[in-house]
């Protein structure tokens, strides 16, 4: 039998999944990922901004995670830092989304056919961006991720986590996922990939 591995990476294209879990003190859930987690520099800037991370929980979590989280440098992020060094009041606007688009373009051009992006998001606008159109991309929001972790027995308190998230929201976060499109590819590489685990 031919064996084929897949390279899964978690990409977090908006600040919300991190900030949501920081609010309920459950950033530790990211430790369940055994694959790299990638955050573009502009989103990193958003999640560590003092207004969004007043207690420094996110910064401490990033330190703790070490190289399990890759901060992806983009021209958008570097450009923003340059402009902000000249004028600290420079607004970041929607640069996070543009930086993610830049990274998605890079992946579309350079990622090997074994690369599987697992996109963890909350902002529905992500579904309209380039990263949502990458080949083999799987998209899921925080609620769907937590429910899947509970279904798989990885965490025992999935419902409690969801209840705590929803207690901080005006309306409940409903699980949302969009699995990779190509059934044929999935059924082939998933089965083969499982042989390569452990």
């Amino acid at each position: 039998m031919t064996r084929r591995t897949v390279d899964v990476a978690v990409i977090i294209p908006d600040a919300s999944p991190v900030l949501t879990l920081a609010r309920i003190d459950r950033l530790d859930l990211f430790e369940t990922f055994s694959v790299p987690i990638e955050i573009v520099d502009q989103v990193h800037d958003e999640i560590t901004r003092s207004a969004n991370d007043p207690g420094g929980k996110v910064s401490a979590w990033l330190l703790r995670m070490g190289d399990r989280i890759s901060i992806i440098e983009t021209n958008v992020g570097v450009g923003f830092q340059t402009r902000r060094s000249r004028d600290p009041t420079t607004p970041s606007g929607n640069l996070g989304e543009i930086a993610v688009d830049e990274y998605a373009t890079h992946l579309a051009l350079t990622a090997p056919p074994t690369f599987v992006p697992l996109v963890l998001f909350e902002d529905p606008d992500v579904l309209e961006t380039r990263i949502a159109r990458l080949p083999r991309v799987h998209l899921l929001n925080t609620a769907a991720w937590i429910r899947a972790l509970a279904d798989e027995g990885v965490i025992p308190d999935g419902q409690d986590v969801l209840d705590r998230i929803n207690a901080q929201r005006k309306s409940p976060m409903l699980p949302l996922e969009r699995p990779g499109k190509t059934k044929r590819v999935q059924s082939t590489w998933m089965r083969k990939a499982r042989h390569d685990i452990g």
């Binding site: 530790d28 430790e31 055994s34 409940p172 699980p175 996922e177």
Partner: protein
């Protein structure tokens, strides 16, 4: 009885659909289900929308069981 109390009783099976619909003043089961879901609850005996096999498969590939600290 508040809406939250009514939904809690319905979810735990303490009252039935008919009583819940009467409380809401609707004769539509769809309206009842929509209200239950909009408030982050499930109909009694129902499970939330299942996460797809494909997503569970990929999470199995990308996840490990660790002792979580939940203190961060």
């Amino acid at each position: 009885m508040t809406l939250a109390e009514m939904l809690d009783k319905l979810e735990r099976g303490k009252i039935g659909h008919a009583a819940a619909m009467k409380w809401l003043g609707t004769d539509s089961i769809n309206d009842l289900v929509a209200t239950v879901h909009a408030n982050g609850r499930q109909m009694p005996g129902h499970r939330a929308t299942a996460i797809s096999t494909e997503t569970r498969d990929i999470l199995r590939l990308a996840t490990r069981r660790v002792g979580l600290s939940s203190a961060n």
